[in-house]
């Protein structure tokens, strides 16, 4: 059964099997995203639980305009963003691109550069870029979200998101070159 069929089944019959199908499909991925953003296993587990509760309480509101996975991940990112804002008492987690002038050359990094990074190296690179950059890279390359979808989640304009992605790619390449200099040979 695809996601939509499972959702309709759950909404109609409240069947626990449907709950289990959705849970088994997405729990691990939500946990992975939460731990990537929050960097703490206990927090990630609590976040997974909270996110899933939100998903099931609001399942009837899913309008099927976007993929279900996009909707699930948008709830996940919003939860993590809210958590980090409360924790850091920082109103705009994504304001750093305005405050920290980029020291990087204003050169467009191609997607190919990032997509060719080996998985263990990619994990290390993502751990060492700022949280906001990591998030936009995950949204774009891991979740396949459109610029508009990312802009809606971050409550930014599409042009701001494009600039954010451009700078995030540049930072990721810089971090990769620093951590794995042998790649430059």
């Amino acid at each position: 059964m695809n996601d939509l069929e499972v959702i309709h089944c759950y909404l109609e019959f409240q069947a626990s099997e449907c709950f289990n199908v959705l849970y088994d499909r997405y729990a691990g991925k939500i946990y992975a995203k939460c731990i990537s953003i929050l960097k703490d296993e206990a927090l990630a587990q609590d976040a997974t639980q909270e996110v899933f509760t939100k998903i099931f309480l609001n399942l009837s509101r899913f309008k099927e305009k976007a993929r279900f996975s996009t909707w699930v991940y948008s709830i996940t990112y919003n939860y993590c963003i809210d958590f980090l804002r409360r924790k850091k008492k920082q109103k705009d987690l994504f304001s750093d691109e305005l405050e920290n002038a980029p020291e990087l050359a204003d050169e467009e990094v191609s997607d190919k550069v990032l997509l060719e990074i080996e998985i263990t190296q990619l994990k290390k690179v993502l751990e060492n870029v700022p949280t906001s950059d990591r998030m936009v890279l995950l949204m774009k390359y891991q979740d396949g979200m459109s610029i508009k979808e990312i802009a809606d989640i971050l409550e930014k304009t599409e042009s701001a998101v494009k600039m954010k992605i451009k700078r995030a790619k540049a930072k990721a390449r810089k971090v990769r070159d620093e951590i794995f200099p042998e790649q430059l040979v």
């Binding site: 946990y31 309480l57 995950l138 390359y141």
Partner: protein, 99 residues
Amino acid sequence: MNNFEQLLEEEASAFDAHKRQQAREGIISTLGSYKLIGQLVTVFVPDMINVLIAATGGSQTTAADGEGKIPRQGRPPHLGETPPGLGPNLPDDGFEDIR
């Protein structure tokens, strides 16, 4: 599947069975609590509203009464179970003339 997606699959598998089950139980418990609260509200709130209305002297309505309220004072006596505060009209025993 690109490297980012492969990374997600790998990290998702790190969500071990014990943590997965703990989180599952927590979610089911929370959803169950919400469901119980919803059921309590559905069952008791209409009755509570009727009690408040009755206490303030208004007319009670039931969900079955689709045609509006029945005034309290014109109501025929209950022939069945007597509700509190209302008693049946006693039949004329004929002794009034003698008293």
